[in-house]
């Protein structure tokens, strides 16, 4: 099929350890500049090599025309610039957009930048409400009129409704969801930057943690953190000279249908399927050829649905799949070896990026104590909103 030729690769990354509170006052441009510097150093490239930049939307110093603010501040003479607004799927979406721009000859080396707002919030805006309503609490927004007054806000309730529907249709034990959280926490013990390093948990810990929205408990829900991340993606010619093993971007897919979960066509058949199917078809790889699954995990149920809808098992078989596999970095089906966002921490858009970064680090052989014995291929899924924005990637090492 038509698609990416696999002629662009991730060759470097930067990732700040997620923090419960910002440990330093950063303005957005300052954070982007430092993340770009770190990632380029990691890649062994110079600032002058960069001719493309992709960023998230949340730049506090520019409510619009974000790219020009960044190009000017960082001194980048860009041949390609983009802003991606796909929530948790933003990091994965940046990666294939960069590869497509490079393969199309628009540019040669792209830096992808994401951050949590690290600086004191603008006192003129009620930040808590903006975050709670995901920016939709404004007059004229269907969300403001038909969701928020009914209490349908934030993400937890939506994933909980999906989990309850799944249990109704296919059967699901709460212990099966809890096992996902436990194994990811095990993985996080080997990640020096994980927010929950040094705090392993047991199945009982998850099961006994407070119920927030039935059936989701506290330890199945992602921890909001502060941080930032960057990737460097470059051309075949430059990647071949890289000091790191490149992770070639050989497949990608996207799918999106809804904003409010109520209007998701089918709670138990998510938009991940068309996204993942396209990525696999483009890559030519089979599910059985994937060495690492790096799956967006805002909640445990997200992982379960992704395993099924990305085609690693049949619909309805996810709970059994979870029971039958060891999903740790020592196991037979390694998944979210960095701990996932549940245990690594979710630093806004950098949380979604962490799944791409981990796939790169594993393929590059740079995953330290959690390094897989063999990792030549990875499947990454990014998920935004409430199972809304879906972006799938397939990465491969030489």
């Amino acid at each position: 099929m038509a698609g990416l030729r696999g002629e662009a690769a991730i060759v470097g990354s930067a990732e700040w350890a997620p923090k419960r509170k910002p440990d330093k006052l950063w303005m957005g441009l300052e954070a982007y500049a430092e993340l770009a510097r770190m990632a380029l150093e990691d890649a062994g490239l110079k600032a002058s090599d960069v001719d493309g930049v992709i960023t998230g939307t949340n730049l506090m110093e520019a409510r619009m025309l974000v790219p020009s603010a960044i190009a000017e501040y960082l001194g980048i003479r860009a041949n390609f610039f983009d802003v991606v607004d796909l929530g948790g799927a933003t990091g994965a979406a940046m990666a294939w957009r960069a590869a497509a721009a490079i393969e199309a000859g628009m540019c040669e080396t792209v830096v992808c930048l994401v951050q949590t707002q690290m600086s004191p919030p603008d006192p003129r805006v009620e930040q808590a409400a903006v975050a709670r309503d995901w920016g939709g609490g404004i007059w004229g927004s269907p969300q403001a009129e038909f969701e928020i007054p009914f209490g349908h806000v934030q993400g937890t309730y939506g994933y909980a409704m999906i989990a309850n529907r799944y249990r109704y249709e296919f059967g699901l034990k709460e212990e099966q969801l809890a096992k996902i959280a436990v194994e990811q926490r095990f993985n996080a013990q080997q990640h020096p930057k994980a927010v929950f390093r040094g705090q392993p948990i047991t199945l009982d810990d998850v099961m006994n943690s407070p119920m927030i929205c039935d059936p989701l408990k506290l330890l199945e829900i992602v921890m909001p953190c502060f941080g930032g991340a960057a990737l460097v993606i470059t051309s075949k010619e430059k990647a071949r000279q890289s000091k790191n093993r490149p992770a070639w971007i050989i497949g990608a897919g996207e799918h999106l249908t809804h904003r409010s979960v109520t209007y998701e066509p089918d709670f138990t058949h998510s938009p991940i399927k068309p996204s993942a199917d396209r990525a696999f078809a483009m890559s030519g790889l089979k599910r059985s050829e994937i060495d690492l699954a790096s799956l967006y995990d805002c909640y445990t149920i997200t992982v379960l649905l992704t395993i099924e809808d990305a085609g690693f098992c049949d619909k309805g078989e996810g709970p059994r799949f979870v029971d039958e596999h060891n999903m740790t970095y020592l196991g037979d089906w390694p998944m979210n070896t960095h701990g996932g966002q549940l245990s690594f921490g979710q630093s806004g858009l950098a949380g979604g990026m962490s799944h791409v970064t981990e796939a790169y680090l594993q393929i590059a052989g740079r995953a330290e104590g959690r390094q897989l014995a063999k990792c030549d291929t990875a499947f990454v899924n990014g998920n935004g909103g409430i199972m809304s924005e879906q972006v799938s990637l397939i990465l491969r090492g030489d």
Binding site: A144, Y168, L216, F267
Partner: protein, 139 residues
Amino acid sequence: MPRYRNGTQPVPFPTPVTQPFWDGTKQHKLLLQKCSACAHVFYYARTHCPACLAKEFEWVEASGRGTLYSYTVCRRAQSPDFAEDTPYILAAVTLEEGPRMSSLLVDADPENVPIGGPVRVVWDDDVSADLAMPYFTPA
């Protein structure tokens, strides 16, 4: 005192396009739109049919009956506006006419909520003088 909630906020602010829907709620009518081009029935109120983008439609009154597609019991309030309402039950309801709708499930036992079971609309007149809120209860 509101009958179904302790809190009353936030209250919807209609736009010119959605005003007929909210006017209907004052008379305890749940109004949907039916596309004149493709007959698709949709909720929430909007200018264009989400099945075909035609912009001609008629308002039709729903029966108020539906089935519970899914729910969750919020043991912890997900916004400060609902802090006095815990535990409260959020619901996605499939209306008899087809569309799905976000609402609250009220007068229901949080420990025994039947997905797939019948529900019917009830009205909360106490949140605002200008409109009533359509909630659902097990039928």
